[in-house]
């Protein structure tokens, strides 16, 4: 299990100077897509669900969307397609039965989950115990407030093409997910053999992986000489290699600074792929340039722009 369910928006930016990390959806594209389907602000808060079965009852009529991993969701026993917008009536039961095609599903509702903005965001700061739903993961019995002020009457059902299909990556023969990275500060402190080992290993996602970070397992990668650094800022995606040689990808709830040597950083455009990598899945890293990383991010923007345009057009008809 990669963690509990929690309320997340796109993250709490601009608070690093107080030691406050971004939090936010592990699959930001899925959260955006759900909000686009509903005509919400793309930063509206949704529920990130990292396990199944997950069951929820609607206390009022509401348009909602499910994106991210395919939870095999059923609304009152009726199977819904993945990446789908539907309308629920008061009393309806939504069940996510089992996760496939990813590790995290996102439930968004018209108007967004209406929890207070704390330091500019509705994301749950698990470490700081603030933001989200009372600063904690969701528990059975919680009642989530929804902003009903702008809910459309009945938008009807609609699906979005999953990011996984629109932004398809060439698959590796080994079945490992391909993750693009930019080399980081201490890359030069590893010899050629260590580097090749890093690039050619299918790194396994261990059970000690969650929103804080993914701890990977594979052959130990060691620098030429041990590295002890002064603490410095890090961002989600930084891949550190502690002295045991087993990489850690720092993620949305990670500490905002650290001192373990940094080998590389997962590019922004592929962070969601990490968020959708389940326990036991394997990751293969591939170095790209800064320019290529910007191009990858532009592809994500194009996908979202086309999705926005398609939904807007459909709404006008």
């Amino acid at each position: 299990m990669l963690g509990p369910a929690s309320v997340q928006d796109l993250g709490r930016v601009g608070q690093y100077r107080f030691g406050v990390g971004t939090s936010g959806a592990m699959d930001d594209i899925a959260l955006r897509a759900g909000n686009i389907l509903l005509g919400n602000d793309e930063n509206a808060a949704g529920v990130e669900i990292a396990f199944a079965p997950f069951k929820l009852r609607f206390n009022a009529d509401a348009a909602f969307a499910l994106t991210g991993a395919d939870g095999g969701a059923e609304l009152n026993g009726r199977l819904l397609p993945p990446w789908w917008r539907a309308c629920a009536h008061a009393g309806d039961i939504l069940v996510l039965k089992a996760m496939s095609r990813g590790a995290r599903s996102y439930l968004t509702v018209a108007g967004g989950i209406d929890v207070p903005l704390v330091l500019g965001s509705r994301s749950t700061q698990l470490r700081g115990e603030f933001g989200g739903f009372h600063g904690r993961a969701l528990q059975p019995g919680d009642i989530l407030p929804c902003d009903r002020s702008e809910s459309p009457d009945d938008a009807g059902e609609l699906g979005a093409e999953p990011a996984d299909i629109a932004l398809r990556q060439r698959t590796l023969a080994s079945g490992a997910r391909r993750i693009r990275v930019i080399i980081a500060g201490e890359y030069d402190r590893y010899d050629e053999a260590a580097r090749q080992l890093f690039w050619h290993t299918d790194w396994r996602v261990t059970p000690q992986s969650n929103r804080y970070g993914y701890r990977l397992e594979g052959p130990p990668v060691q620098p030429i000489v041990p590295i002890e650094k002064r603490s410095h800022g890090i961002v989600p995606g930084v891949i550190q290699i502690p002295p045991n040689g087993q990489p850690i990808i720092q993620l949305r709830d990670a500490q905002t600074s650290g001192g373990y040597p940094k080998f590389a950083t997962v590019v922004e455009a592929d962070l969601w792929r990490i968020g959708q990598a389940g326990l036991g899945s394997r990751l293969r890293f591939e170095p790209i340039s800064h320019q290529e990383a910007l191009a990858a991010q532009a592809e994500v923007s194009v996908y979202l722009e086309r999705l926005r345009a398609s939904v807007r057009l459909q709404g006008e008809l």
Binding site: V13, G14, Q15, Y16, R17, F18, G19, V20, G21, V118, L119, Q125, R127, G128, E129, F130, G131, V181, I182, I183, A184, G185, Q208, Y212, P226, E228, K229, R230, S231, H232, G233, I234, V235, G237, V238, P242, P243, N244, Q246, I248, Q255, T256, S257, G258, G259, Y260, K262, T265, V266, V267, E268, H290, A293, L294, Q297
Partner: protein, 219 residues
């Protein structure tokens, strides 16, 4: 002054890191504070966050010509002066050792000092808050006695208690809330570092001074 330039590296496309050359000392940190104030005002920059003799710059949107940005950052460092920050002075009562300071013996063993000597040397200095980071309200403190240096853990612990006073490498600090740590915990304090409802959510800021008061030593 050292003639070596700073080391500038990329953190993906969302941030750039500048690491100052030379010692982990107050003059270097003052130059980092100076640079942070300057860079914060640059267009496209979201935040310039001081670390321990380093600076992370995050972007609102990534610069398309990163080389140009890196050159500008290097020039800014070369021209940076020193900003003297003198904030308030606070005292924190610490219980050293025991269940919440479970690595005190390891630190003594590693440094070759007695328990009392480790505690005395740790509580002696008036520490300077160099930077905030790690987790909400956490402060990196400058001024630790170098004889207390202990390498970080080979693999981080999943969780230590809030208020844990720890040593990592040549640095020391206090966990502001429970969470994972790669450092060695030698004591505990009940001081409050962070509250999101305060106008400024962190209790301490760079330049503030911290003194640890030995409340008790559990041997």
């Amino acid at each position: 002054m050292s003639s070596a330039g700073p080391c500038i590296s990329l953190l993906g496309t969302t941030a750039v890191l500048l690491e100052a050359p030379g010692a982990m000392d107050l003059p270097t940190q003052r130059r980092i504070w100076n640079l942070a104030a300057l860079i914060s005002g640059w267009p496209g920059v979201r935040e310039a966050i001081p670390g321990v003799t380093n600076l992370m710059v995050t972007f609102i949107s990534p610069p398309s010509a990163i080389g140009t940005f890196v050159d500008a950052l290097r020039d800014a460092w070369d021209e940076a002066g020193e900003t003297e920050l003198v904030g308030r002075e606070v005292e924190m009562a610490v219980t050293y050792g025991g269940e919440l300071g479970f690595s005190l013996h390891d630190v003594a063993e590693h440094t070759g000092l007695s328990i009392d000597e480790v505690v005395a040397r740790h509580a002696a200095p008036l520490y300077v808050v160099f930077a905030l980071g790690s987790h909400p309200g956490y402060c990196y403190l400058g001024g630790m006695d170098p004889s207390l240096t202990v390498p970080r853990r080979r693999s981080p612990l999943q969780s230590v208690a809030g208020g844990s006073v720890s040593i990592g490498g040549s640095q020391t600090g206090v966990a502001a809330s429970p969470g994972p740590s790669g450092w060695h915990t030698i004591g505990h304090t009940r001081w409050t570092f962070f509250d999101p409802s305060w106008p400024i959510p962190a209790a301490l800021a760079p330049g503030d001074r911290v003194r640890f008061k030995i409340e008790r030593v559990i041997r």
